[in-house]
Subunit: 420 residues, 2 copies
């Protein structure tokens, strides 16, 4: 096969380590210049391909590319932009292939979650049909940890570590003040559909009585009575109660707790935030003084406390995608296969995109304790290795030295413009 270019794009919510995957792709491609001349990165994800707005990564220094490994966010820009069915969105798929053809792009690396794997799969089909077959490789990325087949998803280990570390730290704070001040502390974490991130908070404690004392999972319908009983028990028994709540926590009728909303001093309904809703339930019924934190984007951008295992795996799936492509493989995604828990060992495998796309891996019930408020030993065995190791970024003057790329554009070649 003659040398061709590659296209790489980031998709969906970014993570602390998605750039490590980009680094894995670009560094590996650079070792195979005879097959891959250049990696073009989509500016703002797939939109960059549709609008022919691509970044020439050959214009970036080796040093800058290496620095991606320790830089959070999406260095090329990501997008929440879903290409739907081929029938309905044919023009977009065809446009993609036109752009790939014009720029001699024979490799498509799509770094994202469920939707992105679906898109990569479809691009592979359309490209064949249009007589310009492109090697389409998915690269897993999602803090939600909900891709099937792979043991875990790059991005999750770091958010898990952030949540567990933050829970442990805040718990020490609350414990020391509980005698005369805050007795209940609530940490709201991400995970709209699955409780993986909330479960990670459970790793903060190890002995009975350790925080967190309660985890509210999306998988377990919220039972106000049982919840309040447990809060009261914790405050009476341990002097304080630390709660980790998933943004997706919901009632038995599937209504999100967050939908109920809170009111400000003027009686106006406040949007968003399950933590204040839980806080109000505690305060109204038990009268305990509370505080709450909403980690929001801090949790998924916290590269300063990234898991070393996560960084390594994020890099490895990027590298593996390029290697698979060079072996002539297409329509697959590198996966992480767990070889053993203790010691934790893993290797890279592969799975067809058709088996990944549009499926969600939920937190298994056996990872949630019988009472629904905590995690089991099985969950701990699964979660703990993913948080392991610290991979600190370099610092200058007390702040992490994150890279900003040059971001030089590839000259457009098509006359027709495409508006998204």
């Amino acid at each position: 096969m003659p040398a061709m270019n590659a296209f790489y794009a980031q998709s969906g919510g970014v993570t602390a380590v998605i750039n490590a995957s980009a680094c894995g792709v670009i560094e590996t491609a650079r070792k195979h210049r005879k097959q891959i001349k250049n990696v073009y990165a989509g500016r703002n994800g797939i939109i960059g391909a549709l609008t022919e707005d691509m970044i020439d990564t050959n214009k970036e220094s080796a040093r800058n590319i290496a620095a991606l490994k320790h830089t959070p966010g999406g260095a090329f820009g990501s997008a929440r932009y879903k290409l739907g069915s081929i029938e309905r969105n044919l023009a977009e798929y065809e446009r993609l292939i036109e752009v790939f053809k014009a720029h001699n792009i024979g490799y498509f690396f799509y770094n994202g979650g469920n939707d992105s794997m679906d898109t990569a799969h479809k691009v592979s089909q359309v490209s064949k049909r249009m007589g310009f077959p492109v090697a389409c490789l998915g690269i897993p990325k999602t803090v939600d940890n909900d891709l099937p087949i792979t043991d875990n998803c790059p991005g999750f280990g770091s958010v898990a570590k952030y949540v567990a570390v933050s829970t442990r730290e805040a718990a020490l704070d609350v414990l020391s003040m509980a005698k005369t001040s805050t007795k209940v502390f609530i940490l709201e974490v991400m995970g709209r559909h699955a409780g993986w991130i909330a479960a990670a908070g459970g790793v903060a404690g190890s002995a009975p009585g350790d925080a967190p004392h309660i985890i509210l999972f999306p998988e377990i319908p919220f039972n106000k009575r049982a919840f309040l009983k447990r809060v009261r028990h914790c405050v009476e028994q341990y002097g304080y109660c630390v709660i980790v709540v998933s943004e997706g926590a919901r009632y038995a009728n599937n209504q999100f707790l967050a939908e109920v909303g809170t009111r400000d001093a003027f009686g106006h309904v406040q949007l968003g935030g399950v933590a204040p809703v839980v806080a109000n339930i505690v305060s109204d019924n038990l009268g305990y003084k509370y505080h709450y934190a909403i980690a929001d984007y801090l949790q998924r951008s916290a590269r300063h406390i990234a898991s070393a295992v996560d960084v390594e795996q994020a890099y490895a799936v990027g590298r593996a995608a390029v290697r698979f492509a060079l072996q002539g493989k297409t329509a697959i995604m590198p996966i992480i296969t767990r070889v053993s828990d203790k010691p934790y060992r893993w290797r890279i495998g592969e799975a067809p995109l058709s088996r990944i796309a549009n499926r969600e891996k939920m937190l298994p019930r056996r990872y949630i304790s019988k009472d629904g408020f905590g995690i089991t030993e099985a969950a701990r065995r699964y979660l703990q290795p993913l948080m392991r190791g610290e991979d600190y970024p370099p610092y200058i003057n007390g702040l992490p030295d994150y890279v900003s790329l040059r971001g030089a554009s590839v000259a457009p070649l098509l006359k027709k413009k495409f508006v998204v």
Copy 2:
């Protein structure tokens, strides 16, 4: 002077490094056994002295005491408990001296903020009056950085670093998604009266256009019109807008943007949730998609990203307090004196408690940019050195290895019980 015991207590909101001060006190006292036999620590702060509930630190291993240096929260328990005027609270002051007398306590080390310095000062006066003079030393601690005379307060540098790092990280996240998703991100930080912590967020950016684009200080009355104009400008110019807002942000009539209406033990208004208020203002008027984070206790307990300068200074003021006491000094507080900005150099000085107590050091207007939405170079020169250096705690299995003390009680000696 014959050997006596010392009493140490933590007071008010805890920090990531207050235990480093405790470590400085205890390790230094242990080097002078001929003068200080034992350090008794108040369980839950000053309440532990009043109720004769003290922790025998001689029962803690050297290893545990050393580990205090990297453990956040208040290891002995802290309290929001203010002793008021001597006239009104004479019984409490007398009880303190009775307990000190019974336990042969000749040194009182009080680790806290403004109110605590006032208490330490009064204890020194009452003890003299009662014929049992106790050396009373304040040890500065407050994330609010609002103690006068000292150049800065231990606890602040670490929260400043946390806020600057988090702002930089979240900004990268938002920037990469802004094309199709969140355009405005709001980080709510502590600082009820003074904008020191909010100002620290400003250090995250260095070039024009860098985040944060807007800081809302308690010192600058909120001007909705000017604020919205700036938000719109940022989104149009840079594609996104990152806002750091102090919990104490307020209108020109001094009303807080967010006021939940409850008050803490000191009668201070309990704040929380200014971020959603600001988010609603943005959304209602400009329609931009937003996200917000509320760091709350995470920011002041984040020992994992503590400033090395802060840890060193927290230890130094603890050590200095013991040394001053052994030199026969009383009613003073060790202070941090800045010798130079570049290179940053500091030394320990001292100031009388009477000059520290009940005074607040506000963020100077010259640290806030003319438009009121950012910080000046002078602020940067002041703030940056305080965040400098990383002092990572040890980790086990991916989580920080924080110490839990044995916490063995000192046997009570007084028949009379005291109820607080």
